[in-house]
Structures are given as C-alpha cells and as structure tokens.
C-alpha cells in the first residue's frame, strides 16, 4: 500500500461530507417550494415554443449543481425552416 493510497483512504469521508452538504442544502431549500430548475426549464421552454415549433426530442437539459454556482444547460435544436419563418 503506498502512502498515497493511505491518504486516499482517509480522504473518502470528507468527500462524502462535502457531497452530502451540497445535496442537502439544495434539498432542504426545495422541500416546500417549487423546484427552481424545473420552473426555469418550463418558463424557458414556454418562451421558445411561443416562437418556434420544437420537438421535445430536440431539447437536452443538463444540470450540474455546485456549492456556489450551478449550471443549467438547455440545448435546443431549432430546425432552420422554422427559424427562417420568423
């Protein structure tokens, strides 16, 4: 067992603590109120569908929640014909 392995072993509990703190902070915040991400997603989608016809299949939503910042990525493939019509 290398020294590095020993440190790595010690290291797993703090990682667990950080992950949990991050997750629980988010979940506690959202327990009694609508999910911010879901709300943003729905409103953004509503705005877009007001202007162009997009199929649900052409939308990819990805998220990465961080401690101080989260990213919400909404990737929409808008057909050229539809875009040209406006």
């Amino acid at each position: 067992m290398s020294l590095f392995d020993m440190f790595k072993r010690r290291g797993s509990a703090p990682v667990a603590r950080d992950r949990l703190q991050l997750l629980l902070a988010y979940e506690r915040n959202n327990r009694n109120q609508p999910d911010l991400v879901a709300m943003l997603r729905e409103e953004i989608m509503a705005v877009i569908t007001r202007h162009v016809q997009v199929d649900q299949d052409d939308v990819r939503v990805t998220m990465d929640r961080g401690a101080t910042m989260s990213t919400l990525e909404i990737d929409i493939h808008i057909p050229n014909a539809a875009a040209a019509a406006h």
Binding site: M1, S12, A16, R19, L22, T62, R65, G66
Partner: protein, 271 residues
C-alpha cells in the same frame, strides 16, 4: 432487446442499491449497454451511490407522466459511457407511479439497452411489486442472517405470483446474491452458511459479496466499487456475479478470512 433484472430483498438495508450500482457498472464496463432505474420513490439513493446527484433534472415519474422524454431523463455516467441512470422522484407521492407508466418506460428501455436493472425499494408493498412487475430475472439480495433470509423467501413468493411473467405462466429467473459476507464471523460459526441460505431458499447462487470497507469508501466518493477499486474483493465478486448473470459459468469461491500479519499488511490491496 434488453433483459430486465430486478434487484430486490424484502428487508431493508441489505445492499440492493449498492448491488444495482455495482452489477450495472460491471456489465457496462464489459461493454453492455445498461440502464439502472431507481424505484425507491421519495427515498432515492442510487443517484448518490453513482455520483450523479448533482445532475438530476428529470425522474422516472416525469417520464411516466410525459413531462420528459426518456432520452431527456436518462443520465449518462461520466466514467462508463454505456451506463445510464433513471433516477427516482424525490418529491412526488409514491402513488404517482402507475403500472401503466412503468410498463411504457420499461418497454422503451428494452428496445435500447442490453440490461435494464431495477433497484427495488425495501418492503413487499406496491413499490417493491412495481419494481419486479416486468422483470425477466431477479437478483434477491440477502445477508447471511435469519430475518433477511426470511424476507427473501417472501419476495420469492411474490416473484412467483405477482410478476407479469408469473401471471403468464412463465417464470422469473431467480438468483440469490449474498452480500456483506463476513468470513471471520462465518469461521466462528456466527452466520448462516451459504449452503444453509441456498438450502432454505432453494434458489441458485449468483455470488457472494464480502463485507468490505471498499464498498463504503466507494459510496463516499459516489462511484461503484467496480469502478473505484476494481481489485477490491467485493468488486471482484461483483464482476464475477455480472459474468454469471450473462450466463457464463464462473466457479464460485468462498471469501476466506485473511488473518495473517502478511495479509493484514499487504493483502488489503487485493482484499
């Protein structure tokens, strides 16, 4: 066309979620296209064990209700690109999950994957019955301990009566996965032996997963043990179980207690 496998137990806390993640990852590491589904509505944990908890956007209930497409809800693992997670809903009511909804999701997954692995909630109620409903095969997780084996027996009863296969007069292929096997306690005669367990349940054995700190370390960092510590004894046992699930004939070896000084000093890398 995928095989649908339910990982179930009756008793809680025996290692279903750990086993779903580890078997799913092991199959994906072998090149199979795998979807793991968390059926534990309200108490989801498979996302955490797989390290995907920060990336959940949609969940199983969203898909069954048409809010999201399956392709939008599946989260691709960042380490093995043939492994996908369909998370459980954390906020919705359990009754929001309907049999029809689950049927549609499973049917769609069957088309796209080699294995669909359903992580059942504990208990024998609706949630557990929905998780097993469309299974072709069942991995019954049990610890070598009386109450866990008793509950496994009840689950076997449900698998033989409440699944779609059972109702059609076919049967679900059942396997026992013994987890948290402690070789030292077995040597002292403090645990049911593997033979006892198999005798009582008269169901074939898929594998014996030793009690291992590596499993805990892996959960801590959000990575299945087969990815995080592939040489760990529990990881190797999961790799072998995954090969047996694919129909391979892999000889079964009982995890043995390593007490020697040499093993304590140097054996941990392998153990």
């Amino acid at each position: 066309m995928a095989k649908v496998v339910v990982v179930t137990s009756g008793k809680g806390g025996v290692g279903k979620t750990t086993s779903t993640a580890s078997l799913g990852a092991a199959l994906a590491q072998a090149g199979k296209k795998v979807a793991v589904i968390d059926f534990d509505v309200g108490l989801r944990n498979l996302d955490l064990v797989l390290g995907a908890e920060r990336r959940v956007v949609f969940d199983l209930i969203n898909v069954t209700q048409g809010v999201a497409k399956l392709s939008q809800a599946l989260i691709r693992d960042k380490r093995v690109d043939t492994l996908f997670l369909l998370p459980a809903s954390q906020t919705r009511d359990k009754d929001a999950l309907t049999e029809e909804g689950v049927a549609n999701v499973i049917a769609e997954l069957r088309e796209k994957f080699d294995y669909v692995i359903c992580d059942s909630p504990a208990g024998i109620e609706r949630g557990a019955q929905l998780a097993m409903r469309f299974a072709d095969e069942a991995v019954i997780v049990t610890n070598p301990e009386v109450s866990s084996v008793r509950d496994a027996d009840r689950i076997i009863g449900l698998l033989d009566s409440r699944t779609l296969r059972a109702e059609r007069g076919e049967s679900v292929n059942k396997y026992i996965l013994v987890t948290r096997y402690d070789a030292a306690r077995a040597a002292r005669g403090e645990m049911l032996t593997i033979d006892d367990v198999l005798d009582i349940l008269s169901t074939p054995l898929l594998g014996i997963i030793p009690e291992s700190e590596g499993v805990l370390r892996s959960s801590n960092v959000g990575s299945p043990v087969t990815l995080n510590e592939p040489n760990n004894a529990a990881a190797r046992a999961y790799f072998e179980a995954a090969r047996r699930l694919q129909g391979e004939d892999v000889p079964m070896v009982l995890p043995v207690d390593r007490r020697g000084l040499f093993d304590r000093l140097f054996g941990r890398r392998a153990a």
